[in-house]
């Protein structure tokens, strides 16, 4: 049974340039409970946890930790401080040192003595393994362990440091269902032993299965904290998404034309060898149609796009554009066939920050005759002209096309990227999270542009984590779950409800069969 409060975060505020990542957040944790922290990407969960772990320093606010039965304010200068106060973190991206053995990874930074007595350490770890049920081979390079085993090492690291408070940052994102089951068993066991766990996730069924209390974050704020008894998936989903200003962008009425993109039985391997991120997926998009891909992040959407866009060779299946096979073709060929792409992470994939807007305006098409004589000598006036048109047409706020991209605000950068991709001649537009991290104004603008695309009889593949966006824009919605499109919904007259999509996003029927022992107790709509 959960006991006293052992951790309290009060009025935590953290600003990054241009972003309020954490806005006066109050959060607490009781002894022996699992407190789930949910929210979309960028809601501020990770920032909050990094503050708790001493990696970031809050601009405002105080952290209290129970020391000798009393809550005391603490200041963490670095993770070492946090560790000393019994806080341990299992990062989403494992913080394991490849090239070191399991045991070395576990004791790293918390070695028993200057000269390491491996035998004693091993005995101690063995004891922890027996108590917690986390068994891993100790004398091998962690690199060779499976993902699930690596996560166990991460948890062992935390336990070895005698942490009472465990932060698990999206621990299931990389796990198979079986591994997830085992993880939950372990979490329950740890709970019984008196550990408190902060469980970060956006997989609602998992949260419902494991958490005692649930806090929901949205846009840097902690909007609500509730015990599990008061929570339903729907309620959480609603809190997560919030009620954005309803954007009333009229959807143009377009009769779909010929099939532009056709994907047949596509199978794509993930970064982990042998695991299929995209599993036998088939769909098509016609001219003048927006096809939305819904799904909790990490269910294969990214890999699907990469395969279509030629960045990841498919394992099987076929992709055609207007009947022409482009499977496994390189990106520049695919772009030439008329594919534009608004990437999900613009800083990483969409722009060159130090380059001027002009240079950023022609990426991937820089060899075209309009921009380069013989495909080699760059025509600067044409490029500038082109950039100015994008700037003008897409209302990008900038003094000129000669400033570096890095000087623009996020919204304007995104508008520029969207404008660029739309401006290129294309048949298919792949838009991945086209409004991520932009303000409402820019969002509406981008929606209008996508509809304009539709009017121009383009085929649009829209991938988004934002349900409202999907429902507003898409004619048809394919819901991806664990690499498969488990359901395709017709939304031509906006008849699909968020509830419906949400149901399939969480696995729908599939989940009930596969994960019956976890999610079995709960009834979905």
């Amino acid at each position: 049974m959960p006991g006293d409060i052992i951790l309290k975060m009060e009025n935590i505020t953290k600003r990054f340039p241009g972003v309020l990542a954490n806005d006066h957040i109050n959060f607490d944790l009781r002894e022996g409970e699992v407190h789930a922290l949910v929210g979309e990407n960028g809601a501020g969960k990770s920032t909050l946890m990094k503050i708790l772990y001493g990696l970031y320093h809050p601009d405002e606010g105080t952290i209290y930790i129970k020391v000798d039965g009393e809550l005391k304010p603490v200041k963490f200068k670095n993770p070492q401080d946090a560790i000393k106060h019994g806080i341990g973190m299992v990062h989403q991206h494992f913080m394991l040192v490849y090239g070191l053995t399991t045991i070395e990874n576990i004791i790293l930074g918390y070695e028993p003595s200057a000269v390491i007595d491996f035998d004693t350490a091993k005995k101690e770890i063995q004891k922890i393994m027996d108590e917690s049920g986390l068994h891993v081979p100790l004398d091998v390079d962690v690199e060779v362990l499976s993902v699930g085993q690596q996560q166990r090492v991460e948890i062992l690291k935390v336990l070895y440091r005698k942490a009472k408070i465990l932060i698990l940052d999206e621990p299931t994102a990389v796990l198979t269902p079986q591994e997830t089951d085992e993880l939950f068993n372990i979490i329950n066991r740890l709970k019984e032993q008196g550990h408190s766990i902060i469980f970060i996730s956006h997989k609602l069924h998992e949260v419902m299965a494991i958490a005692d209390r649930i806090s929901v974050m949205r846009k840097g704020r902690l909007v609500h904290t509730m015990p599990k008894s008061e929570a339903t998936k729907e309620k959480i989903a609603e809190l997560m998404v919030g009620h954005p200003v309803l954007l009333d962008v009229p959807r143009p009425n377009v009769t779909p034309g010929e099939t532009i993109l056709e994907v047949e039985n596509l199978t794509v391997e993930s970064d982990t060898k042998g695991v299929m991120a995209v599993d036998n997926v088939s769909f098509y998009i016609r001219a003048g149609e927006i096809y939305g891909i819904a799904g909790v992040e990490g269910n294969g959407q990214a890999e699907l796009i990469e395969a279509i866009y030629g960045l990841r060779p498919p394992k099987g299946g076929k992709i055609t554009i207007k009947g022409e096979d482009i499977t496994g073709k390189p990106t520049h060929v695919i772009r030439k066939k008329g594919v534009s792409h608004i990437p999900g992470d613009r800083h990483k994939f969409g722009v060159f920050l130090p380059f001027t807007l002009a240079d950023n305006s022609i990426l991937g098409h820089h060899r075209e005759e309009n921009f380069a004589k013989y495909g080699i000598f760059r025509k600067f006036s044409n490029i500038a002209q082109w950039a100015r048109e994008i700037i003008k047409k897409f209302d990008v706020r900038t003094p000129s096309e000669k400033v570096p991209m890095s000087a623009l605000s996020g919204g304007n950068q995104q508008k520029f990227v969207v404008g660029r991709e739309i401006s290129f001649e294309h048949e298919l537009m792949i838009a991945a999270h086209p409004t991520r991290g932009v303000d409402i104004g820019a969002m509406e603008f981008i929606y209008r542009q996508l509809f304009e695309e539709k009017k121009q009889k383009k085929a649009i593949l829209l991938v988004s984590a934002d349900l409202d966006e999907l429902l507003l824009l898409s004619d048809r919605i394919g819901v991806m779950f664990k690499g498969k499109i488990i359901k395709e919904l017709d939304n031509t007259s906006r008849q699909v409800t968020p509830k419906e999509v949400g149901y399939y996003m969480l696995g729908g029927d599939v989940e009930i069969h596969e994960d019956s022992d976890i999610a079995g107790g709960e009834q979905s709509a």
Binding site: G18, Y309, G310, L311, P330, T331, H332, V333, I334, R335, H341, P343, K348, F349, G350, V351, F352, L353, P354, F355, D359, L363, G364, H366, R367, A372, G375, I376, F377, R378, R397, T398, P399, S400, V403, P404, S406, A407, L408, S409, N412
Partner: protein
Amino acid sequence: MPKKKTNNIKYFLLSLVAPVVGILISAILLFFLILLIRKGSISDTIHAFYIMGQTLTSTQDLGYIIARAEPLVISGIAAAIAFRAGVFNIGTEGQYYIGGLVASIYAIYFSFKSPSLHWLNVIFVVIFAMLGGALWALIPAILKVKKGVHEVITTIMMNQIAYTTAKYFVNGPLSGVKGGESLEPKTMNFPAAVDFHRLYDIFHGHFPFPKYIPLYESLFIAAIIVFVAYIIIFYTNWGFEIEMLGTNPNATKYSGVPPKVVVFNAMLWSGAIAGLINIQEIFGIKGYYTHHMTSGLGFDGIAVALIGYNNPIGVVLAAFLFGFLRTAGYNLQFELGIPNSTMDLITGFIIIVMVIASVAMNRYISKLRRKEVLSEAGDR
């Protein structure tokens, strides 16, 4: 509009801060070093700086500065091309040994013997030197693209092998050391139709520098390289794609530019140009090849490229700085007996200080710039 212009001037001036700071700090160090060498004589030390100043005003010394800057310009450009693509080719050192060697083999065995075909020989020397350099860059390029082996390690190894290879050819098949004469190892002399002409002779005396200044036709080659590199880097898509890769490999991939191809090309072109680094000495000054020629030009070029912000114009300026330091170094050695090694010390020091300063300044400039654009655009 006028405001923007002043801004550009401001940024340009800011980008000069690092070199100026580097030179100033190094000058202070030099002051103390000379003081140490001249056993505390301040007047000697001041005289030393006066001598350095004179270096810039004497025609003869200017000629030397140009001559000494020339190989560094080529070396700097070779390095810069790779660096712009994010490839750290520190194998230019070995590449010019092999470039020179291959061109020498051409000169000795295959060149035109008729003096009227001299210009053809020059062209072929350039081509073969570039081929040789590219050949030596090929192995690191392949290892990087195919096996992901970091180019720094492989090029260091290739440098050592290059020296040995050159030595083998000089002592073995190409040896020009005649029995009875005690000479340092070298190849046979090149036919007269290959030897680069002096600029002084070409201009029939309409030449500002004395005849003996070692300025040869290769200066044109260096000038052409600067010009072509400038065009390629700033006016062509090759340069653009190299820059893309060096800036953001992920976005490059997303733009449909295959990174491996760009890496491969950048490495090969860098090597090809590196093959030309020392043709001045081999085909101009010496007229034969030896592995015992001026070494370290490749490493100097790396510094030149970095100090010159990988920009051909910057490379030229940095090369002139080095040329100046060297020439001034000889003057100091000659006039005051201050050993040339002092200048080595200062050169190394300048490199470290300037690079540190430029890293810091770049960070500051981009911050400043962002702030300004945001306020100007009225955005946030």
